[in-house]
């Protein structure tokens, strides 16, 4: 499943199920949030993950980080299965893998100063350095994300959404990670600020050789930043391909529907390509449809699609798709 380059993270058959409900005279139900995904993240690339709310993309990112214990499957980081490690054994990997969260308001502690937020990972992972040196590193990190060094003594409420998101990025960078899961880092931001954060992420990737898993629902921004893109639907990856390949020749009907639904900011293009609608809504992950999970909404669905779950197979070089008809 490798493209060019070496796999940094190998995900195989990863599942994350949650139990919900259950109580007096009520059976527990299982939400199949992530239901068997396999892919590699290549060193130095940005792997974009797109999908609509509830498709399991954030859960997948967090399960890869072992923030949630996986129900099944493995996540190997440079060949070591993280799921099999104890908390103590996991610690060095926590340093190499960081996360940036979607909501820049709830992900920063309002009572901590910016300096202490940014330096917190250092207190955990770099016990060898002193307080003074730590604060100096904090200032350095703020400079890296284009914020004023004097902000170290201020509090999160004094900052705008875009500035807070940069503080979150500085915190993630503190321990010199190799791999960063960006969980919808720009969704809560205004257009002009989104561009600020995306260019910052691009610059940092160039400077530190970072690998990103970039989770988002905005396809046009994912197209801009990603090397390859994975499309998720109901807990599964339905298509994975190089960025240009995916947009030029999408194979899965869901990918095509997603692409046709994006309003492109160009009136001439819009006049030639009116927005097309996909009927119906996403089924509940509590009770996913039999066979191919997309078949109730799929314009191409046939009898085979209601029966068996399609295999996720390589249909062209580096182009994977799970569809009976593709």
């Amino acid at each position: 499943m490798a493209g060019a380059g070496r796999a940094l993270v190998e995900v195989r058959g990863l599942k994350k199920h949650f139990s919900v409900g259950g109580g007096f005279l009520q059976r527990k139900k299982t939400v199949r949030a992530v239901d068997g995904v396999s892919f590699d993240v290549i060193e130095g690339e940005t792997l974009g993950v797109v999908g609509e709310s509830g498709c399991g993309k954030s859960t997948m990112g967090r399960t890869m980080l072992q923030l949630y214990p996986p129900t099944e499957g493995s996540v190997s980081y440079r060949g070591v299965d993280l799921a099999g490690l104890s908390r103590q054994e996991l610690l060095p990997y926590r340093k190499k893998i960081q996360i940036i969260f979607q909501d820049p308001y709830s992900s920063l502690n309002p009572r901590q100063t910016i300096g202490s937020i940014v330096c917190e990972p250092l207190t955990l992972h770099r016990k060898d350095i002193g307080k003074k040196e730590r604060l100096e590193l904090g200032r350095e990190l703020l400079r890296k994300v284009n914020l004023d060094q004097s902000f170290v003594n201020r509090f999160p409420h004094e900052f705008s959404g875009g500035q807070r998101q940069r503080i979150g990025i500085a915190r993630a960078l503190a321990v010199k990670p190799e791999f960063i899961v960006c969980d919808e880092p720009i969704s809560a931001l205004d257009v002009s600020v989104q561009a600020q954060v995306v260019t910052l992420l691009e610059d940092l990737q160039g400077e530190f050789g970072l690998t990103y898993l970039f989770i988002a629902h905005d396809l046009s921004m994912v197209r801009h930043i990603s090397t390859r893109i994975a499309v998720m639907y109901l807990g599964r990856i339905v298509e994975l391909a190089g960025r240009d390949e995916l947009f030029r020749a999408p194979l899965h009907p869901y990918t095509r529907a997603l692409l046709a639904a994006i309003p492109v900011p160009d009136p001439e293009y819009a006049a030639r390509n009116p927005i097309k609608t996909l009927e119906g809504e996403i089924p509940s992950a509590l009770n996913p449809p039999r066979g191919c999970c997309f078949h109730p909404r799929c314009p191409m669905a046939g009898p085979a699609c209601e029966e068996g779950e399609p295999a996720f197979r390589e249909l062209g070089p580096g182009h994977y798709c799970a569809c009976h008809k593709a």
Binding site: E52, A261, P267, I275, E279
Partner: protein, 325 residues
């Protein structure tokens, strides 16, 4: 085509403890029958407050409309009494807001919420109102409408709730539909469903639409005319074609440069707008965009430019416009 709505020099301020927030600073525009006007801008640019102002929906806030007129088919909405404007809101003017969960009442059934307006505004019987409500729910694509109408909003998904909101807004066949970011909280496939639905209904009922959004993609796909707002001012207005083809205001140009390009040159680097929008409590006398503008000159920092015609139907508020950007 007649004029449906004419807003003249609308000014709204919020009087807060920390100072006076100048949210809307003298905006004027018209919406014709059958027209879709998009109002574009980022958080805090006054696009929503401008709408709430003309509907007299700022009560309970510190916001006050300080000046201006809002003529809806010749009647000044700002001069209407509470009772009079209530008769118009929901009947002649339909409204859809961004968050359907907070705009629908969670403890009343959909049936109750939908029929109440019909009975009150149109004076039809409960039976008739129910039939009509069911028809509307079908129209907006809600399956099994006759069963689901007895349910409560929390039993619906986000997309379904937004459809209920739209059905309610259309219930009395309004002449004007004001939609404030109705699809922002929705997924892109659901957004496409709602956009196509509203377009169909517009063709069917011939209403005028004001669509508030921050998404230039929606503007390009959906509107005929567009106005761009910044810091409570309209900084550029045009028909959609010329706004995109001959973008004139540095802020609008900045917004477009912040977006990934579609097509051939998409590898180009994004060009963010520097800095952040100004504090509306401390707007100076100059152009509000000057502190972030690469072309700002002495005059821009001293004097705020008024909207001026660049070409027919294309207006821009910039001292440097027309000098070949």
């Amino acid at each position: 085509m007649g004029t449906m709505l004419e807003v003249k020099d609308l000014r709204t301020r919020f009087h807060t403890r920390e100072g006076v927030v100048r949210a809307v600073n003298g905006i004027s525009y018209t919406v014709d029958e059958g027209e879709t006007l998009a109002v574009v801008g980022e958080s805090g640019c006054g696009k929503s407050v401008g709408m709430l102002s003309i509907l007299q929906l700022l009560q309970g806030t510190t916001g006050r409309v300080e000046a201006g007129e809002a003529l809806f088919r010749g009647v000044d909405l700002l001069k209407l009494s509470d009772t009079e404007i209530r008769k118009l809101r929901g009947r002649d003017i339909g409204m859809v807001f961004q968050d359907p969960m907070t705009s629908l009442n969670p403890v009343l059934s959909i049936k109750r919420q939908m029929t109440e307006g019909l009975v009150k505004h149109l004076g039809v019987s409960r039976r008739e109102a129910l039939d009509r409500a069911i028809r509307l729910l079908r129209l907006v694509g809600i399956p099994k409408a006759e069963e689901l109408i007895g349910e409560y909003t929390f039993q619906f998904s986000g997309g379904m709730r937004q459809r209920v909101m739209i059905a309610m807004a259309l219930a009395c066949e309004p002449r004007l539909l004001i939609a404030d970011e109705p699809t922002t909280a929705l997924d892109v496939t659901i957004q496409a469903q709602i956009m196509n639905l509203v377009r169909e209904l517009k063709d069917q009922f011939g209403m005028a639409i004001v669509w508030i959004t921050h998404d230039l993609g929606i503007v390009a796909n959906f509107a005929q005319n567009v106005q761009v707002m910044y810091a409570g001012y309209i900084v550029e207005k045009a028909d959609v074609g010329s706004l995109f083809a001959r973008t004139a205001h540095p802020y609008t140009i900045g917004l477009l440069n912040s977006l990934p390009a579609n097509g051939a040159d998409r590898r180009r680097r994004l060009i963010p707008i520097k800095g952040a929008p100004p504090n509306l409590r401390a707007l100076g006398g100059g152009c509000p965009f000057a502190p972030r503008c690469g072309r700002a000159a002495e005059r821009c920092r001293a004097e705020n430019p008024a909207l001026a015609e660049l070409e027919r139907g294309h207006q821009v508020a910039c001292w440097n416009a027309g000098e070949g950007l």
